[in-house]
């Protein structure tokens, strides 16, 4: 333990003390991702098994890369510029600690996937092919996490995480509410920072590399669009909710009209959700698998509803406690 970065112990203590909600935030996304992968691998949504495996491996690859990339970058920034930033800790020790933590998380994920596949193997339609599904998902998790780890360590801790974010190509003045100007800018920039921390469009290349040989390009493009639009939706919604919470806290001492603030807070996430939904529909159309549309829409709804509820609760809580 002494060879590891001292901030790791502090992070663990903070996680333990902040209770169940923090744990859900920490472990919720990976658990949900792995459960989705297993469900896709064992489901009967696709006619060919190759597609079934691809559908499971793609989110595993993309999701594991995004989660690992963002969390390693977050830890690097926190440890480099946080309370322990001035401590004489070798750079190698930070990389070693993060590698150990990532490997442990990866091993736990692999065990979790194996256990889930074992449980569902009783009723899965492609029972005989489950070892291949296991190998496919495991391989995707290992590749996604390893690539993320190497890329994040190469990037290292950044001092200015807001750098390089351009203004939107299309100016959308109707997004701005005069009573809370620039909140959509804040939400959009927070979403972009988070999107880039998840690896952004580098994932498209990795995802395409995992598609079975000889697969037709149009449905592949559809699948990529689905995965990307869903990821974007989740990122944009959570970033918007976090930015809103920060904004309401920042403006706590001002005579803010909370009803209007609530409406202003929804403008950007709703616009982002609509954009995501359009790409999702295009993806579904390209995929020509009409039956998966409801499942994707429901998953997208769940991904977007929770942060929207958080925005609602934040503005209400602050109003009532004022």
């Amino acid at each position: 333990m002494s060879a590891l970065h001292p901030a790791l112990r502090a992070d663990w203590l903070v996680l333990r003390r902040t209770g169940a909600v923090a744990s859900v935030r920490m472990f919720g996304a990976p658990v949900l991702l792995l459960a989705c992968c297993v469900a896709l691998a064992c489901g009967d949504l696709y006619k060919g098994y190759g597609w079934c495996l691809a559908a499971a491996a793609l989110p595993a690859l993309g999701g594991s890369h995004a989660i690992a990339h963002r969390r390693v970058l977050d830890a690097l920034e926190r440890w480099r510029f946080g309370w322990c930033g001035a401590l004489p800790i070798a750079r190698g020790r930070t990389a070693w600690t993060l590698s150990i933590v990532t490997i442990v998380a990866l091993l736990v994920s692999l065990m979790f996937v194996s256990a889930l596949l074992l449980i569902v193997s009783v009723s899965a339609p492609h029972r005989g092919d489950l070892p291949y599904a296991l190998a496919g998902i495991d391989l995707a998790l290992i590749v996604g996490t390893s690539v993320a780890m190497v890329r994040a360590l190469r990037i290292g801790a950044r001092t200015n995480h807001a750098g390089g974010i351009r203004e939107p190509v299309l100016a959308l003045p109707w997004l701005n509410d005069t009573r809370l100007p620039h909140l959509p800018d804040w939400q959009r920039r927070a979403a972009l920072v988070r999107w880039r921390r998840g690896g952004s469009f580098v994932m498209v290349g990795i995802v395409l590399g995992a598609v079975p040989m000889g697969a037709p390009m149009v449905p592949v493009a559809g699948l990529v669009l689905l995965v990307l639009s869903w990821s974007w939706l989740a990122v944009a919604m959570r970033a918007s909710a976090d930015a809103t919470t920060d904004a309401v806290r920042l403006l706590g001492a001002t005579p803010l009209d909370f009803a209007r603030a609530r409406r202003a807070s929804f403008r950007y996430p709703v616009a982002a959700a609509l954009c995501g939904l359009v790409w999702m529909i295009v993806g579904i159309a390209l995929l020509r698998q009409g039956m998966i549309a409801p499942a994707w829409i429901v998953l997208a709804g769940i991904a977007s509803a929770w942060p929207m509820l958080r925005i609602l609760r934040t503005t209400r809580d602050t109003e009532s406690s004022a």
């Binding site: 807001a162 750098g163 800018d185 920042l250 004022a322």
Partner: protein
């Protein structure tokens, strides 16, 4: 003189730790009150309790005759709290922060007086850059401007001179004094800089263990200024050890 701020038996606790234990404080319109005290006395918490950014266990706050619990918007209309530098949004520019606060205050645009203050504090060239690229001093200046936007009658400032370069500090003190001298603005300044408290405040309040231990009125402060052997530093040390 009309009372602008009145706190009645204000109590705030963080878990089992009682930080404010029955604070009764009145500030008249046009008064400059300095809040002093050792670390952990509850100065910052008192400012946040008045601004409704810290939860009260008990007690009441009334600003300009409006109860903060019953009519928070009316009470907060009369209140300006300088923002702590670490709380500023890194992803917005200084000008965007000002526009956000102006909007929240119901102002159509950033008031010229706020932009003039930016000029006084030499922050204007930085206003179109993202806060992430600001130094501590620049953030402090922006935090002050956000608190003073719209020139509300009651200003709450928590160590506003921390990180300010001498030139900006020198420019900000007369600005604050001129606002108070106009008679419609009151300042509650939490500080460890006893020289600023002694020189500029019309009343100094010593807070210890969450209670008001002692206060010095304008007459006593004037006497301290006149006699070099007497000082607020000595008076505070005596009051703390009493």
């Amino acid at each position: 003189m009309t009372v602008l701020l009145r706190t009645t038996t204000l109590r705030v606790a963080y878990g089992d730790v009682r930080v404010l234990d029955g604070i009764d404080l009145e500030i008249a319109r046009g008064e400059f009150v300095a809040l002093i005290g050792p670390n952990g006395a509850g100065k910052t918490t008192l400012l946040h309790a008045i601004a409704a950014t810290a939860p009260l266990c008990d007690g009441h706050v009334a600003i300009d005759g409006h109860d903060l619990a019953k009519t928070p918007r009316e009470a907060k209309q009369a209140l300006g709290l300088a923002i702590d530098p670490p709380r500023l949004p890194a992803l917005l520019t200084g000008r965007e922060c000002l526009a956000l606060f102006a909007g929240a205050r119901g102002l159509p645009a950033i008031p010229p007086a706020t932009l003039a203050l930016g000029e006084t504090l030499s922050l204007t060239p930085m206003l179109d850059r993202r806060v992430a690229s600001y130094s501590l001093g620049m953030r402090q200046k922006l935090g002050i401007m956000l608190g003073l936007i719209g020139e509300p009658p009651l200003l709450l400032l928590d160590e506003p001179f921390n990180g300010l370069d001498p030139r900006s500090a020198l420019a900000f003190k007369p600005h604050l004094a001129s606002l108070v001298a106009r008679g419609d603005t009151s300042v509650l300044l939490a500080t460890h800089s006893l020289d600023i408290a002694e020189r500029h405040a019309s009343r100094v309040v010593l807070l210890m263990d969450g209670r008001v231990r002692r206060s010095w009125d304008a007459g006593e402060l004037a006497a301290m200024r006149e006699h070099p052997e007497r000082s607020l530093e000595k008076a505070m040390a005596e009051a703390c050890s009493a």
